[in-house]
Amino acid sequence: MSAETRPNTESLSTGSPLLITGADLAGAGAGDLLVIDGRIAAAGPDAGDQAPEGAQRYHAEGLVALPGLVDLHTHLREPGREDSETIETGSQAAAAGGFTAVLAMANTSPVTDTAESAERIWDLGQRAGYVDVHPVGAVTKALAGEELAELGLMARSRARVRVFSDDGKCVHDARVMRRALEYIRSFDGVISQHSQDPSLAGPTACCHEGELSGRLGLPGWPGVAEESIVARDVMLARHTGSRVHVAHVSTAGSVEVLRWAKAQGIDATAEVTPHHLLLTTDLLTTYDTVFKVNPPLRPQEDVEALREALADGTIDIVATDHAPHVRQDKEHAFTDAAFGMLGLETALSVISTVMVAQGRMTWADVARTMSTDPARIARLTDQGQGLTVGAPANLTLVDPDRKVTVDAANSKSLSRNNPWHGRELVGGVHLTMLRGRVTAREGLVWGAQA
């Protein structure tokens, strides 16, 4: 939104018709996209024929056009920790990373557990104007795990909350989880569960439990602490006939449970983070707190199972779990440091590197797992509708061959806890467009008044 981030030379004005030419349309082959009045007016090989006289042209040959990315799991830290991230800086980072919508987790201070707090976040997101910021509502008041938050009022609010989560904490009481699942059915909500049985992996658990945690003397976080909650929750979803979503799946065992649940027709969806698809637990050997994340990085066997599950649809979507922290919250002894890592700006590049460049997924799969399905799970009506005529022109243009060496200093986030710093990734976001307006190009971002 600030003027200095908006170069005067930006040639793509809004309002006038725009023809994007020659892009690979989400893996469906080369074609054009005609954008008029913030919507896709034509798409496909012949779309250019329908371009009105004087339409601007944007040459996108060699690029891949995806529907704007949607992140179901973002931490924006406002209100409460605006020194780590604000809705404005976080949504700038999102736009730079190719996102047009993010779901902001409820574990702010105060917690997003009322209609008023949810509306405030929605409004701040609209005012910033880089991406749609949809608040996630807390499942329980103050994330205490005891009394249900005002789920219905949040659903009926201007923010139209459909995703509820105590993320950061697990709704570990089975009775509370059951009631929450029953209650949200009437407005088609979903509970996104942070699966961590606190009696098996308590608050200090910070390293995958195994040989390495034993040697390093770090409190272990066993896979079964996640798997047992996933198993319980899919059974509760079956019992209540409601929708459960498993946040940041991290183990092969959880994948097995999900595969079984889907075969039974249980309405359970799941997400995996880019970091759990590429980074492994052995990075903790030096006690570098940038790699401290919850759930923890797992061994290679789990990473392989997660890749396979994302490719075959057992895991539905990619979500970043973008978790910014200021320097002083990370520069503690490993067990004392904050959990979490940045993810919004690098997610597409990581998925491109791990899944697309390796032949595990196509760009159509990326569109499904990073846009269409996250939007569908969150019941967003204005996002993730694909590159189809009449849909809002929410677009991400990707340069699939570009080599990106991540430099934490270039981040739009207020924080620098970037686990990818110095890594070379293949594939980068070229341009992001929200309802026909360019919000980011090559890492430069433009706000609402652009």
Partner: protein, 318 residues
Amino acid sequence: MKHLLSIADLSREEILEILDTAVSMHEVQHRDVKKLPTLRGRTIINFFFEDSTRTRSSFELAGKWLSADTINLTGKGTSVSKGESLRDTVKTIDAMGVDMMIIRHMASGAPAQIARWTRCSIVNAGDGMHEHPSQALLDAYTMRQRLGDLEGRHVALVGDLTHSRVFRSNVLCLQKLGAKVTLVAPATLMPAGIGAWSAHDGLEISHDLDAVLPAVDAVMMLRVQRERMSGGFFPTAREYAVTYGLTKDRLALLPDHAVICHPGPMNRGLEISGDAADAAQSLVLDQVSAGVAVRMSILYHLLAGESSGAQSGEGSAA
């Protein structure tokens, strides 16, 4: 060698050098005037974020007898609660121009992290459930005094292995010196992934102390912390003492030449009976006495060794 963070960073030769130097340091300890001029003008901070009278006073005496200026700092209530990071805290001390920080911290890995953030030498005086390298060196020193070379000797480590930094450093040290190591504990007090340790590192694992004792040259009993008892790691203190304690009856199973070690403080009647603690084979007080000498040797090798060219200086994590 700039830091002592983990026994893993030391070669067998470096360990032996430290232990051999400690022999001459030990002689100083028995003189009327105990000062050596070796570290005159050097400044050592004992930075203890967790209480430990025994280790702190042992390092403090070691520094003083080598004529270093030593200062004690406690880190209680620092960092997280005050909003200052651990990095800021130790960088502030480092900026005063100290030569060495001896760090005790309740969190595993803290000394290794601090070594990346500061320029002075760092000695790990015990970090969380990770390591306690000076303890392992003094344990090896004490055993060598009685048993001679540890190559081919058999040592049993018994008790709460999961939470023990003494165990982690001792395993590495004893194996580098060529000893065979057997671990004895209930499965609930074995570290995660111990099966992989035994496979890679040739450790033997047992839940039967009676079967192990007749074959050992040394048995090291590890402290069971009282707070573990309510953690469901074992049913009752009575059951633990009967099953894994070095009782009077078990003393008879040890070979005559075998020795008993305990890093202290002891829970008499739990992991070790009074009879065993006070037996002729017990080296418990020898360990304490050796502690100062071994720590003098460590300080010498880290601070004086480099200027005299006695150490190669390579291989240290800067």
